[in-house]
């Protein structure tokens, strides 16, 4: 069964080709069946492969499906690699991906470009599977760029609106900054170790490189650059909120559940290199902690339902970075898994609200949706609880594990993470309370059909019980040094446990009760300024605009006519000038010609005699 691994990226690719080539002529049901079917077959196949893998004693397995290229000492096969880590990613991508495809078939039912949408979605799944299954970094890079392309295409799916196009290009170019670092990392690794095969690379690195020396630090820092760009972490995070311009299922699939976690996957996959560079690993933790706080504050100030979720994604990925940074590899992947469930759920539920409300995004113009949209409401309750990490949800188990692991390394980072957990509780329940409680504001509501309800229901179950689906990762990662599990009433445990509740209670006090003090605070001018600052995502867009974009555009614009070309034009002008001067001497007057000839002859004779 496992030998069929190479079929996984192939099915969605065939779906893409079919839809791209014949899409315009197909009936809608055929399109939906092709689009969902190719991913569905993938999900089924990966479940079978997963079962075979787990039964087969969890031995890592390789499947080569031909050679891509071989030059000199470089040889890149189309090789696929399956271990517990890639299996986890595989199940997330195909499982959650399939649910989102199903949901999309209802959500996009009225869109004119049905076929194009499913074609792009299938292309994305194919590239993502290539990314997680690749056994060498070059193939991984191919998937990495492929998901970036599909992300660009899908963010700008509604291309008539130039703002969507701008968001799409921003996402592509900003992640390409990270990708460039990744590619350089690849080149560095290859130049020094002469292979790009992932397991071999890490074995060689461990053998030849001293921990903390320049080469592993440089290589892992470059890889980190790639991860930071793709996973929207500081300083390349500002593309993700704008990426919400795409259709909501796209945000759920690409910008919450799968693609943005590719950076986590990359670092976890290359953990053998990162442990050789403790400085970089610490930087990973630091980036994670900072990002999770910055994004948490930004999420507090948003009013657009999708932007709140986008910032919460950045913040949750920050947790995963933090976990990677402190060496809690499997906790990071665990959180990746549960996050995929509950964040996909939240986005799909948000999509349901937006769908039923005719593209209304502002939570303050919703209100009282509890009775009108019970399915969406309960999905949000489950999703927000899991996002905040309340006990007995999947999000709780994974986040709690991260907090405990962080404490073992650095109490300061732990405090930041706990504060972040409180923030998470606050902004997630703020969303819930504002949108679903309170007075009813709007009338018009359309219903949703089973294709949208079923995925919501299944994802609700996964967001609650998804922690059970965890695949043991002990075979992949080095074990953390054993430490005693803190008791239930251990202060460390209690603080980690209760932090989200603090946020939830604060949100309830502020948005359910009539909190005079909070309103008074909100009216203060300095608070308004701060709020605006958070709303704009800490001003990163403005900074980058001034720092990079405008100088670049300025330089490009002033040199539009090519300064080098002007030098050649000057030569041409000089020739014309000389031509005019010599031409002026041609007067047609015989007297003058004779005189010049005479003088010329005299001058030549004089030179001849005198020299």
């Amino acid at each position: 069964m496992i030998e069929q691994l190479y079929l996984l990226p192939l099915f969605p690719l065939l779906g893409f080709l079919f839809l791209a080539l014949a899409g315009g002529r197909l009936a809608r049901p055929v399109i939906a069946w092709t689009g969902c079917g190719s991913v569905g077959v993938c999900a089924l196949l990966s479940a079978l492969i997963g079962a075979a893998y787990l039964r087969g004693g969890m031995e890592p397995c390789r499947v080569a499906a031909g050679s891509w290229l071989a030059v000199d000492d470089l040889s890149l096969p189309f090789g696929f690699y399956l271990d517990a880590l890639s299996l986890t990613m595989l199940l997330v991508v195909t499982g959650v991906g399939w649910l989102i495809h199903l949901y999309s078939s209802g959500f996009m039912a009225d869109d004119a470009d049905y076929a194009r949408f499913f074609a792009y979605m299938n292309l994305f799944v194919s590239a993502m599977l290539l990314l997680v299954l690749a056994d060498n970094l070059a193939l991984l890079y191919m998937g990495w760029e492929g998901v970036g392309l599909s992300s660009y295409l899908l963010i700008g799916f509604w291309y008539q609106n130039p703002d969507n196009g701008h968001a799409a290009r921003k996402a592509f170019v900003m992640t390409r900054v990270g990708d460039t670092a990744l590619l350089l990392g690849l080149l560095l690794l290859f130049t020094r170790l002469h292979t790009l095969d992932i397991p071999a690379l890490q074995a060689l690195a461990a053998e030849h490189w001293r921990p903390g020396s320049l080469l592993p630090v440089a290589a892992s820092a470059l890889l980190l650059g790639g991860a930071v760009g793709k996973s929207a972490q500081l300083p390349l995070q500002s593309w993700l909120p704008d990426a919400m311009a795409g259709p909501t299922p796209v945000s759920a699939l690409i910008h919450a559940a799968t693609m943005v976690t590719a950076g986590i996957y990359l670092i976890a996959r290359m953990h053998g290199l990162f442990v050789l560079a403790p400085q970089v690993q610490f930087a990973v933790a630091l980036i994670g902690a900072t990002t999770l706080l910055l994004a948490g504050f930004s999420a507090l100030a948003q009013t657009d339902i999708k932007r709140i979720l986008a910032y919460s994604t950045i913040s949750q990925i920050g947790y995963m970075f933090l976990a990677l940074g402190v060496g809690a590899w499997s906790a990071a992947i665990f959180h990746l898994l549960t996050h995929a469930f509950f964040k996909a759920l939240l986005f799909l539920a948000a999509g349901a609200v937006i769908f039923c409300f005719h593209h209304e995004h502002d939570i303050f113009r919703m209100g009282g949706l509890r009775r009108k949209l019970p399915v969406a409401f309960w999905s949000f309750v489950v999703g927000c609880a899991a996002l905040a990490g309340l006990p007995f949800t999947a999000g709780f188990y994974s986040k709690h594990q991260i907090l405990l692991a962080v404490f073992a390394v650095s109490p300061v980072l732990w405090a930041a993470a706990c504060f972040g957990a409180a923030l998470t509780g606050f902004y997630s329940f703020r969303l819930l309370f504002v949108a679903f409680f309170g007075p009813e504001n709007r009338e018009t509501v359309t219903g949703m059909d089973w294709r949208m309800r079923t995925p919501l229901l299944l994802l609700c179950l996964l967001a609650l019980g998804g922690a059970l689906l965890r695949i043991p990762l002990a075979s992949v990662f080095p074990l953390l040094p054993a430490k005693p599990e803190p008791g239930v009433f251990d202060p460390l445990n209690l603080v980690s446990l209760l932090a989200p509740f603090a946020g939830v209670l604060l949100a309830a006090w502020r948005y359910l009760g009539a909190a005079q003090a909070a309103q008074a605070l909100a009216a203060k001018p300095w608070f308004k300024g701060l709020r605006q600052f958070w709303l704009d995502g800490w001003g990163f867009d403005r900074l980058y605009d001034r720092l990079w974009l405008r100088p670049f555009q300025f330089i490009a614009e002033i040199n539009k006519n090519d300064v080098i070309d002007r030098e050649y034009a000057a030569i041409a002008r000089l020739c014309m000038r000389l031509h005019a001067m010599l031409g002026a001497s041609q007067t047609g007057k015989v007297r003058r010609y004779a005189a010049v000839m005479g003088f010329g002859a005299a001058a030549i004779i004089a030179i001849g005699l005198l020299s």
């Binding site: 030059v71 070059a138 196009g165 290009r169 590619l183 080098i564 070309d565």
Partner: protein, 489 residues
């Protein structure tokens, strides 16, 4: 014999096309296509000969002017086989897109087109430097006419600019060729212009450097590299579509081929000494071309500057002087040939339909012409170097090879990966996306254009996913070049 036929058929076809015009207005195009088809058949017969992995696939040597040791010497190795194939393929594509665009003096048009191709094929095959120079000049005049007669509003100026630039480069090369032959004469007492003889000429290091520069300038004008690129944007903007396809797809490659075949092997020491400068020029071309492309509002000008950017990769790769980088240059030659030809075809098609090249006046074409739009998207993405498509393989291998030699310069060049999406997506934004500016008509591609572009797409995909046959074909010739290099100091 087959090699001479490759060139001869194109000459004969060109003459026949000119005379056929009086029989039927559509006859010249058919004659041209037939001639190219005959060449394609010959190439098919040559491919099996390449299988035995030796450097030279075919060799042909006739006397021409024995007094000066000038011979009609043609030979083909893997690299030239690939490039001749590219020339013939793009020739067919060019004929395909000229059929709707060219309406007057068709016979003379196809005469020029085929002579231009014959010259290019001659350049790729000539192993006698005099013959090489002859073919080099032979490409020029027909292209001058193609731009000047069938070009757009400012075509005469662009044609003259093109002619003068290449001519100055050619003059330097002629001087270098004659000097090299004289040095050979001084060494051995007999004249020869034969490539394999001149490989053994022993100019003193200083002279060798100057002669190398002569060749280098000639080829980098053609390439073109910064700062000799100024002719290219004008020539491309003004040329008819078929001219642009041949210019970008075939003629620019003669510059890269010349560097690979003559500049480096004839003067290995001087080339190695000069390599840092050449690589820097390559890196600057890559970045400068990308920034300039971003600034353009004329679609054809934009594509012309992207060509400069991609050609910079070739220069960088060739002077990195290791196998990966050389292979990367060869792949880039082919991949850029496909993608640039396709983009120029698209630009030409848009100009034909919308009567403008200004991207500001386009926009929102996707719903009107979905096939045209999807193909534009494909080639825009190919030119920004997405893995899985041909251009990526070339750029990746060049960067890989360069990294071994000069990591800092590679990192600098890699910045183009950020700039390339900026210009490539600009094409998508300004032509395909956005609201429809006014009620306008834009017919989608017809089946003939679709076929031509489908071939180019398929070729780009093959090159991106399975480049190994191309790499294997080029390998023996590239290894031969590297073996002749002085050992690293």
């Amino acid at each position: 014999m087959m090699l001479a036929m490759l060139i001869g058929i194109l000459f004969a076809g060109g003459l026949a096309a000119w005379f056929c015009e009086r029989l039927h207005p559509a006859a010249p195009a058919r004659v041209a296509l037939t001639a190219l088809a005959f060449d394609a058949v010959l190439l098919f017969m040559l491919y099996p000969l390449a299988a035995d992995n030796s450097a030279w696939i075919a060799d042909l040597k006739w006397q021409w002017i024995p007094r000066f040791g000038i011979g009609f010497h043609l030979a083909m190795d893997g690299v030239s086989l690939l490039l001749v194939t590219l020339a013939v393929l793009l020739g067919c594509v060019a004929v395909g897109c000229a059929r709707t665009e060219i309406r007057h003096r068709q016979g003379f048009f196809y005469f020029n087109l085929l002579f231009c191709l014959a010259g290019a094929v001659g350049v790729f095959l000539a192993m006698d430097l005099f013959l090489f120079f002859f073919c080099w000049e032979l490409m020029l005049a027909p292209m001058y006419f193609l731009i000047g007669i069938w070009g757009h509003e400012d075509s005469i100026r662009a044609a003259i600019k093109f002619f003068i630039f290449t001519q100055v480069g050619g003059l330097l090369m002629l001087l270098a060729i004659v000097a090299l032959a004289l040095i050979y004469h001084a060494d051995t007492g007999r004249y020869s212009f034969d490539y394999f003889d001149l490989l053994h000429a022993t100019p003193d290091p200083h002279t060798a450097f100057l002669l190398m520069l002569g060749f280098f300038v000639a080829f980098s004008v053609k390439l073109p590299a910064i700062p000799f690129h100024a002719w290219l944007p004008d020539a491309h903007t003004q040329a008819p579509t078929a001219g642009s396809v041949i210019l970008a797809g075939v003629m620019l490659k003669t510059g890269a081929y010349g560097l690979l075949r003559f500049t480096v092997p004839l003067f290995p020491d001087a080339a190695q000494q000069f390599a840092p400068v050449a690589m820097t020029l390559g890196a600057i071309s890559v970045l400068y071309g990308a920034v300039m492309a971003y600034a353009q509002s004329d679609l054809k000008r934009l594509i012309a500057y992207t060509s400069i950017s991609h050609m910079g990769f070739m220069l960088l790769g060739i002077f990195s002087l290791n196998l990966a980088a050389l292979q990367g240059s060869v792949v880039t030659m082919l991949a850029h040939g496909f993608s640039a030809a396709a983009l120029f075809m698209i630009a030409g098609a848009l100009q034909e339909r919308l009567h403008t090249r200004e991207m500001g006046k386009m926009g929102g074409l996707w719903p009107l012409a979905p096939r045209l739009s999807a193909i534009t998207l494909f080639f825009a993405i190919a030119s920004l170097g997405l893995p899985g498509l041909g251009n990526f393989i070339g750029e990746f291998l060049v960067l890989l090879g360069t990294f071994k030699v000069n990591a800092g310069l590679t990192a600098l060049t890699a910045l183009v990966l950020i700039l390339a999406p900026a210009y490539a997506l600009l094409i998508v934004r300004k032509t395909l996306h956005g609201p429809l500016s006014e009620a306008r008509q834009c017919a989608d591609f017809g089946s003939r254009q679709l076929l031509a572009l489908a071939i180019l797409m398929l070729a780009t995909l093959c090159l991106g996913l399975h480049p190994q046959p191309v790499l294997d074909l080029a390998q023996p010739s590239l290894l031969r070049i590297l073996q002749a290099m002085p050992p690293e100091t």
